[in-house]
């Protein structure tokens, strides 16, 4: 366990040395908080830009607090996912490509710990950034619209977070059998997009799909009925996360590193 902590601490130090601890939370906050703000100030924005002809009256329906927060949540599943893939796609592949992995892994380093330390440190960075930004968004929605119950917020936070966790894990998995960070990013995004499109176009076939977790997370903040598929889909996701991690370790052990 000592060695795991050494590996983990190195990851944390690296993330602070290359300022990931600053820019990742900031970017998350920007993309999340932007939604309630623009929704609230839309009439003023349109006004000040003078985009409408004289006399035109447009009635913008005032969005509900739930809709405003759901808009933030949907940002995590587009820009958020993109950022997650960008910051994790090189975590192992990059080290193998540069050759430093060869120097580290001729030491008696446990492959399982190497992979899980990388995974855990990415998880911490992403969950903290995600929490900060989603929490701020929840706060702004409360100030500008009305406060949504904190419990509902937390539940949607965790359910959507499981989907983000799965994404991190899948990116780590591809990291273990590809040497180029670019290829890892491309394939990971491809798989996420395909899974999301399939799940939303064939919801009756794939109702347990992890890609639907974000839709289910919406139900908490919109106050609608919770779908029955919520629990199975959480279970499926957790199983997929575990299997991907185990597969990552197994594949990584067998790879030639040079």
């Amino acid at each position: 366990m000592n060695q795991w902590m050494t590996l983990f601490k190195k990851e944390m130090l690296e993330m602070s040395r290359n300022f990931k601890w600053i820019w990742v939370p900031l970017t998350f906050i920007m993309i999340a908080v932007k939604e309630p703000l623009t929704l609230y100030y839309m009439p003023q924005i349109i006004d000040s830009l003078g985009g409408l002809p004289e006399g035109a009256v447009i009635e913008l329906p005032v969005p509900s607090a739930g809709e405003a927060l759901a808009a933030s949540l949907s940002q995590f599943n587009t820009f958020g996912v993109l950022i997650i893939v960008l910051i994790t796609m090189g975590t192992i592949a990059g080290e193998r490509k540069s050759g430093v992995a060869g120097l580290i892994l001729v030491k008696p380093v446990s492959y399982a710990w190497f992979v899980t330390a990388k995974w855990a440190s990415s998880m911490i960075l992403i969950w903290i950034s995600y929490f900060l930004s989603y929490f701020l968004s929840w706060y702004y929605v409360g100030v500008l619209f009305e406060f949504i119950s904190f419990m509902d917020f937390l539940q949607s936070f965790f359910v959507n977070g499981i989907w983000l966790t799965l994404i991190v894990t899948v990116v780590i998995l591809f990291n273990t059998f590809m040497k180029s960070p670019g290829a890892v990013g491309f394939i990971s995004i491809g798989i996420i997009v395909i899974l999301s499109i399939l799940s939303s176009s064939l919801p009756h076939l794939l109702e347990w799909s992890p890609a639907l977790l974000s839709a289910y997370a919406n139900a908490f903040i919109m106050g609608s009925n919770l779908p029955d598929e919520l629990l199975p889909s959480i279970i499926v996701s957790v199983i997929m996360i575990t299997l991907s991690l185990l597969a990552s370790i197994a594949i990584f052990k067998r790879r030639e590193l040079a």
């Binding site: 050494t6 690296e14 430093v100 120097l103 580290i104 001729v106 030491k107 008696p108 030639e256 040079a258």
Partner: protein, 301 residues
């Protein structure tokens, strides 16, 4: 006592056979040079021993690795070492030491000691990204030996260094010999000649010759006598070559080289002749076989 036994290892990349079956063993506290031209398979051999490349067949057995991870026993420096550029030299060494299983305090002490030993102590708090090539090479050696491995493998440790750096690293390796076996690859024959006990010649993925330095010299000793005269070297040489035991003669600038059958007999014959005729001799040398000659000879076979 052998540290590692290598039994008939083979390796193929795509359809090219890079290592065509190789057997050898390495003993404790010996310095062994892996010699060969570029592309002979030196790096691949070292990578296989380090576990970075798996041989297609054959086995590599480390003494004492039946129970524990063999990586505890080895230290490895790749040809072009790459580090975490954002770390300082000291941080990297402590990190490497801890990964190799040293307790934190010991890793700290070892890091300090090795920074001194390798001569980069004054740069220990600088980011590795700012290190020069020579400093990276030294840091690479330091990380390879931090856990006092039984076998240290260095891939071209001095090829990229300037003459000063080269000298210092060679001296460092000489010190290391007291603690561990060293296996290093090089194509600079002088370096091997200087610090090695044993030599492995690699050619086209095969071990073409191996042995101790003196053993190889004796085995490939050529019966050759070099002579030089103050003047008229050619004329005198031709006259001397008429004497019985000379099988061939070659003029090499100022020298005349005689290849003879019996070196003792030839020496006596030549010297008597030269004395009797009072020829203006300036050089008389029974040539010592250099590693380069051995190299050329085994590679041409």
């Amino acid at each position: 006592m052998p540290v590692v036994n290598i039994i008939n290892i083979k390796k193929q990349f795509q359809d090219q056979e890079v290592i065509k079956g190789m057997d050898f063993q390495l003993s404790e506290r010996k310095c062994i040079a892996l010699l060969g031209a570029n592309g002979a398979g030196k790096t691949t051999t070292l990578k296989m021993l380090a576990g970075l490349v798996k041989p297609d067949s054959g086995s590599i057995v480390f003494e004492g690795a039946e129970k524990a991870d063999f990586r505890r026993l080895i230290g490895y420096l790749p040809q072009f070492p790459v580090f975490y550029e954002w770390m300082t030299g000291n941080e990297f060494l402590e990190y490497a030491g801890q990964l190799a299983g040293l307790p934190k305090s010991e890793a700290k002490d070892r890091a300090k000691e090795l920074l001194e030993l390798t001569g980069i102590a004054e740069a220990k708090n600088r980011r590795i990204g700012k290190y020069s090539g020579g400093m990276k090479q030294r840091l690479g050696i330091a990380q390879a030996i931090i856990h006092r491995p039984k076998l240290v493998m260095l891939d071209e440790p001095v090829s990229a260094l300037d003459p000063f750096g080269r000298r210092e690293v060679l001296e460092l390796m000489d010190k290391l010999k007291k603690e561990s076996a060293i296996l290093f690859s090089t194509h600079i024959l002088n370096d091997a000649e200087e610090i090695c006990d044993e030599i492995l010649f690699l050619h086209n993925g095969e071990l073409v010759e191996s042995g101790t330095l003196t053993g190889l010299r004796t085995k490939h000793q050529q019966a050759k006598i070099d002579l030089a005269f103050k003047e008229n070297t050619l004329q005198y040489a031709e006259e001397l070559s008429l004497l019985q035991p000379v099988s061939s003669m070659k003029l090499d600038g100022e020298y005349a080289s005689f290849f003879v059958e019996d070196i003792e007999y030839a020496r006596e014959l030549f010297l008597t002749e030269i004395m009797q005729r009072n020829l203006p001799l300036v050089k008389f040398e029974i040539s010592r076989t250099r590693l380069e000659d051995v190299f050329m000879k085994v590679v041409q076979k």
